[in-house]
């Protein structure tokens, strides 16, 4: 075991893993997190806590992780390199590990222009690839990247994100390989809607044997409505939602679209579950956490395994 997290144990035992995500609130009210956490509990092996996603200021990821942990949910700390330099990143990693966080996800972060503070200075001292390397160095070498010895190495199961749908397509698998070389233990993908393209990506990853060395968790997001699908397709860079997918939900009357979205998500998880090289699923039910149990249960993934 590299970090001994529940997620790591579940994956190591060969179970099909389930993660979800919890976006912290735009304020200091811990009840918002606790309310979402109640929907997550028992349905996942670990729960991501986002780090100021879309560059909108929210409660810190470390704080969100601790609130989940208090409720007995295993947290997965998301960390972007947009807002902190290597000094702050290392410091927060040490702090999170000291507080018992055992999973983390290394991300670049959306550009700050998308948030409420487009005039903010961005940092990008190191990139997400180098953050993976940084965490691995601290965990496995017991030293800071500067070479100084750590008083206690942080323990993290190290994750990274991949977007198989961004351009140029041909470097998407090589980039995953780079992230593995840097030290990634697991991968969570961008929301998958274009299954054909994802299959092509996975096939190339398999051809190179990458799936045997890194745990790939396929990302899914249930669509609430045709409107949401169209909005995401138009507004979110790198989000690939094929027209037939949109049509399938748009063909339903408005009041039945949410149920259809859930049905489609369950179908998709079942299909992903059968694919060689997919070790689990990452369900991003954005501001729809109350549907997690229905989706994960519907896909036959409950109860979650208990691995000692």
């Amino acid at each position: 075991m590299k970090a001994g997290s529940n997620l790591e144990k579940v994956l190591a035992a060969g179970h099909f893993a389930v993660t979800a995500e919890c976006g912290p609130p735009r304020g200091a009210d811990p009840e918002v997190v606790r309310k979402k956490a109640a929907y997550v509990k028992g349905n996942v092996d670990a729960c991501n806590v986002t780090d100021n996603q879309t560059s909108v200021v929210r409660m810190s990821s470390v704080a969100g992780c601790m609130l989940l942990k208090e409720l007995g949910i295993e947290p997965l700390l998301q960390m972007v390199v947009r807002d902190r330099n290597r000094i702050a990143l290392q410091s927060d990693l040490l702090g999170a590990s000291a507080l018992g966080v055992r999973n983390m996800l290394c991300l670049s972060g959306d550009h700050q222009k998308f948030g409420d503070d487009p005039q903010a200075k961005n940092v990008f001292d190191i990139d997400s690839m180098q953050l993976i390397h940084l965490v691995k160095t601290m965990r496995d070498e017991g030293t800071f990247p500067s070479g100084q010895k750590l008083e206690g190495a942080p323990k993290f199961f190290i994750g990274c994100a991949v977007n198989p749908f961004a351009d140029p397509f041909e470097i998407r698998v090589p980039r995953l390989k780079l992230k593995m070389m840097a030290g990634a233990d697991f991968v969570q993908t961008q929301c998958i809607y274009n299954m054909e393209k994802f299959k092509a990506y996975l096939e190339e990853a398999r051809r190179q044997g990458l799936h045997e060395k890194v745990k790939i968790l396929a990302g899914v997001t249930p669509l609430k409505s045709a409107g949401m699908a169209k909005f995401m397709k138009k507004m979110v860079a790198g989000m690939d939602i094929p027209d037939p997918v949109i049509k399938r939900i748009a063909d339903e009357p408005k009041e039945k679209q949410a149920a259809k979205g859930i049905e489609m998500c369950i179908e998709q998880i079942q299909e992903l579950k059968e694919m060689e090289g997919i070790a689990g699923v990452h369900v991003m039910a954005i501001e729809w956490e109350e549907k997690l149990q229905e989706i994960i249960g519907g896909a036959g993934l409950l109860p979650r395994p208990v691995v000692e």
Binding site: R82, R86, S108, G109, D110, H111, K113, F114, N122, F124, D125, I126, D127, S128, M129, Q130, H133, L134, P145, A161, V162, N163, A166, D167, P168, I171, P174, R175, K177, L178, M181, A182, Q190, A237, G238
Partner: protein, 221 residues
């Protein structure tokens, strides 16, 4: 070259409001090439300010000059004979020039008439684009001659991020994805080997992060 854009005339008028005698100083260097601070721009700006002040009933005396370069002491010296006859210098050189004037003529306020932009190129008539951030540790030999620090909105060393779509950056459709450009170029040069290597963390101490920088060439002193 160093590029720039004119400051709004209202902002300049407010800046020079307390003064009745000013120098408008241009520069024949970069700002002449990008047509924001050369001899012609000095004339146009001085005329505009005279007219505006006359309309407002507050006449102003303006001396128009254009120095060879505002970033070299010998050219700045050329203003010494008359500088004391004026209350302020409105410079339309880059920020380096404006500051050098302030440094050399400590009794005379030095005012910025332009907003200094970036180190860039003329992509076409009337359009300039950034190419270099002067980070002090060039890697262009590894990236197909395209700078990841400047051309990627996140200065990634292992791009492109998940926001690269059809050749443009997530910050906007007018911004090409720097890493798409790098990959296209590496492919055409048959240098994709450079892509699949982990790069060390960049040392930003050679950039502005190390504090204001200085170059000392012993061989020239």
């Amino acid at each position: 070259m160093i590029t720039g854009t004119p400051k709004p005339i209202e902002e300049i008028l407010e800046m020079i409001d307390p003064y009745e005698r000013i120098v408008v100083a241009g520069c024949y260097g970069c700002v002449t090439v990008c047509r924001v601070g050369g001899e012609k721009e000095v004339q146009v700006l001085a005329s505009t300010l005279r007219l505006a002040r006359e309309t407002a009933g507050k006449k102003i005396t303006i001396k128009e000059v254009c120095l060879e370069r505002q970033c070299d002491p010998e050219y700045i010296e050329q203003m010494r004979p008359y500088i004391h006859d004026y209350q302020a210098v409105l410079s339309i050189a880059c920020g380096a020039g404006i500051q050098f004037l302030a440094e050399k003529y400590t009794a005379t306020p030095s005012l910025p008439g332009i907003n200094t932009g970036f180190l860039g190129v003329t992509e076409r008539q009337g359009e300039w684009a950034e190419r270099c951030q002067g980070c002090g540790d060039c890697v262009l030999h590894l990236t197909g001659g395209i700078c990841p620090v400047t051309r990627c909105a996140k200065s990634l060393f292992h791009g492109p991020c998940g926001g690269s779509v059809q050749g443009h950056c997530e910050v906007g459709k007018d911004t090409p994805c720097g890493w798409q450009l790098i990959i296209d170029r590496l492919k055409s040069l048959d240098q994709m080997d450079n892509y699949v290597k982990l790069k060390p963390y960049k040392g930003w101490n050679t950039s502005r992060d190390g504090g204001p920088r200085r170059i000392v060439r012993e061989d020239m002193i």
